[in-house]
Amino acid sequence: MKIHKHEVVIIGAGGAGLMAALYASKDGADVAVVSKLYPTRSHTGAALGGIGAALGNLEEDKPIWHAFDTVKGGDYLADQDAALILAENAVDAIVELEHMGLPFDRTDDGRISQRRFGGHTSNFGEKPVRRACHSADRTGHMILQTLYQQCIKNNVNFFDEYHVVDVIMNGDVCVGAVALELSTGEFHIFHAKAILFATGGWGRVWQITSNAHSLTGDGAAVVFRRGVPMEDMEFYQFHPTGLYGLGVLLTEGIRGEGGILLNRNGERFMEKYAPKIKDLASRDVVSRSIYFEVRDGKGINGSNYVHLDIRPQTVNRYLAEAGETRRIDEDYIRKNLAETLDVCRTYIGVDPLTEPIPIQPTAHYAMGGIPTNIDAEVIRDASGTVVRGMYAAGEVACVSVHGANRLGTNSLVDLVVFGRRGGMKMAEFVKTAEFLPLPNNPTAQIEAEFQRIRNGKGKTRIHELRTRMQKVMMDHVSVFRTEDTMQQAVDELIELRRLYMNDTFIEDKGSKYNTDLLEAWELGCMLDMADVTAISAINRKESRGAHSREDYKDRDDVKWLVHTLGYRETDDPYAPTPTYRLDTTKAVNMSLADSDPRFVPKERVY
């Protein structure tokens, strides 16, 4: 067994992981980045529109306004101290990205260009503000490339295609991780003073998702199995405009340019649900509206999708109806929505200039995850007790800055701000911290679990179980929820786990690049994420942000202005019938509301 010793080990090489690696190594700490993918394959690269920061390059803007939009967008479940830090640190972090060479688009005076984005306003909701810094329509790609380039420049150690499968604890302290080297199938131990999880989300739990195949919740599941709770797992964002059947994301910019959502009767149904801003309502509202239409049999061909129409004649008709003078033509769309045209033609063979685009809500982003404080330190309970040596940042973490619903662009803001803070905090920590000893035989349990999967003599394909999980989560724990239907999902998940533990087989018996084996192991991680998501959702008896219940339609600030912490109670990390416990005593931080009534929860209207 190879043992690698580094002061700081970062798991995951997307935006949060690479940012943390750069800032942790600045003062000379010895840093290694371990990732199951080549770093440039990480899903940060798929982010399109922009990254919000109150630079004020084109009009007046202030971090406190950004914090307000974040808190309101999150339906008041975001921790207000964290939201303020997000907004304030975003300014420095984005300027630093420019100093690293990131090719932002520019204003006429050569500064970073900024544009409007849903939910971002000036002066506490008064009017839209240009806050999203952008680099064409591939801002995430530019961030990922720039950070990787700087890591190369700074000689960061990379362990590419090493799949982390367990975290090593010494009592209550995190001392390392176990990874499987994909090219050999061998297990490696990473012994560290500080470990940061930056493994992203778990969109593959659902049938339709914008997420990469690799987003299976491994990092979260690994620490969850070792006693760390998962926070606010019931809050999962569904983006309204996923390409039908595939879930590939279409940007909000399509509706920003005048695109209209239509049902099978050609009705602009958003007029019904959001009379004021119609198709540009927030993500959770639009996703729910599509769901209503489908449920009423008004999906296209009675099926579970609607149309997004960007054809000039359609857009111009509605512009004229609204009394606007603006008109668009095909050239305008070719110029402004080039990526959209390309995606539709490439993936479903639809030309949006001549026919409407079939879309459906797509699982997009986890607001919840591994609970951390504002320095990316993982906490284990409602009172904020730090797990020494363990950090998390990016989508896998829950600070919480997104509360019940994330604002557009804030995923990128989150990962640069808290990746950076985590990196700095670890750099400081490892200066005085010692390497604590590894426990005896730290890989025994995980090796046994892999043996179990490898030797399975059952008759169920992993693919079949995964498909069943994805379907039941899409049907019952997605945009719209009730007690009964979610309970059906929980029951199905119990059955799926029984099959997973007792009745599977895999075909690849080799060691090298055994993706058959790894996919089977990843399914176990997704089942954990699905379980804790479903039981957290059943438990929260209100509707807030992305968590919308038919049986509890209103937000309940008296009972439910709290975070959920979901614990796995069973000590054995691979127990066939794990039990869970929920704690709803972690209060939401209201520090801004204490001195400013504008931050006190009120009805969220746009």
């Binding site: 993918l37 080549y38 440039t40 394959r41 990480s42 899903h43 690269g45 798929a46 420095d92 300027v95 420019e98 100093h99 690293m100 060479g101 090719p103 932002f104 688009d105 520019r106 204003t107 005076d109 050569g110 970073i112 260009s113 952008h134 680099s135 064409a136 329509d137 790609h141 530019m142 490339q145 720039t146 380039q149 700087q150 190369i152 420049k153 090219s183 990469a212 595939l246 590939v248 994301l249 110029k335 402004n336 080039a338 990526e339 995606v343 490439t346 993936y347 479903i348 063979g349 992993i462 895999i506 075909e507 690849d508 080799g510 060691s511 090298k512 690049y513 055994n514 993706t515 058959d516």
Partner: protein, 256 residues
């Protein structure tokens, strides 16, 4: 429709005489707008779990699944079945990209590729102090636009492994590394351009490019790779970077 996959297989663990071979798989009920990656998944998930390939985003941005489909490099997630099926049996032939050692089935060793990438100093260099006001460095949109095309690169290796010069000599840095160098050489803020031009004027630099033009159609991001290489050649010949790219002729792609 029904299709036939003809896939180049290689299992390094099948004993001392492990050899690559072709294997055919039949798939039923394939929609013509299904993508090749989805159909590879169907083979793996429904028929043969040992079939190994890399993939992640499945939306053309991560660069994991470059492979040789009917003899041309493409991202499997960006190709529709209807655009590549051939013959009476609706055959699609899939093999690993060429010029890099095959490790298993469609998985190649990417290390030589990334080693070439690192040779060209693929990172921003500017040793001046940052602006005293704590703000961003200034750059005009026009200066930003001249290197826009090459910022699209996702390091999928489709261009480099389509290049006969690279097949003939693996020491050639290859098109992707030159594209990456181009992105910095023509960035007005960058100060490392002379060093990069020096690296690329070495025997295994740009002059191994014979303008065969395989790279440009291979690029899934529509980067004008051959043009970028030409611009780097010109910068080396002239010993300067100014005046080489005419902003008026920049490929108009995704301008905001």
């Amino acid at each position: 429709m029904d299709i036939t996959f003809r896939i180049r297989r290689y299992n390094p663990e099948s004993g001392g005489k492990a050899k690559p071979f072709w294997q055919e798989f039949e798939l039923k009920d394939v929609a013509e707008t299904n993508r090749v990656l989805e159909m590879l998944h169907r083979v793996k998930w429904e028929q043969d779990g040992t079939l190994s390939f890399r993939r992640s985003c499945s939306s053309g941005i991560c660069g994991s699944d470059a492979m040789r489909i009917n003899g041309r490099n493409m991202l499997a997630c960006k190709v529709l079945v209807r655009d590549v099926v051939r013959g009476e049996k609706n055959t699609i032939q899939v093999e690993p990209i060429l010029g890099l050692p095959v490790l298993k089935d469609l998985i190649v060793d990417m290390e030589p590729f990334f080693a070439h990438y690192r040779e060209v100093m693929p990172y921003f260099i500017n040793n001046d102090p940052v602006p005293a006001d704590g703000r961003e460095r200034l750059q005009s949109q026009e200066d930003r636009d001249v290197f826009d095309d090459t910022t699209n690169c996702i390091l999928c290796a489709a261009c480099t492994t389509s290049c006969p010069s690279f097949w003939a000599n693996g020491k050639y840095v290859g098109p992707a590394a030159i594209v990456q160098a181009h992105r910095f050489i023509f960035d007005s803020r960058d100060q490392g351009w002379k060093d990069r031009l020096a690296v690329l004027s070495e025997p295994n630099g740009v002059w191994r490019c014979r303008t065969i033009y395989n790279c440009t159609p291979a690029c899934p991001r529509n980067i004008e790779v051959t043009r970028a290489i030409g611009e780097v050649k010109l910068a080396i010949q002239r010993g300067k970077r100014e005046g080489i790219i005419d902003p008026a002729t920049i490929p108009a792609k995704f301008h905001n």
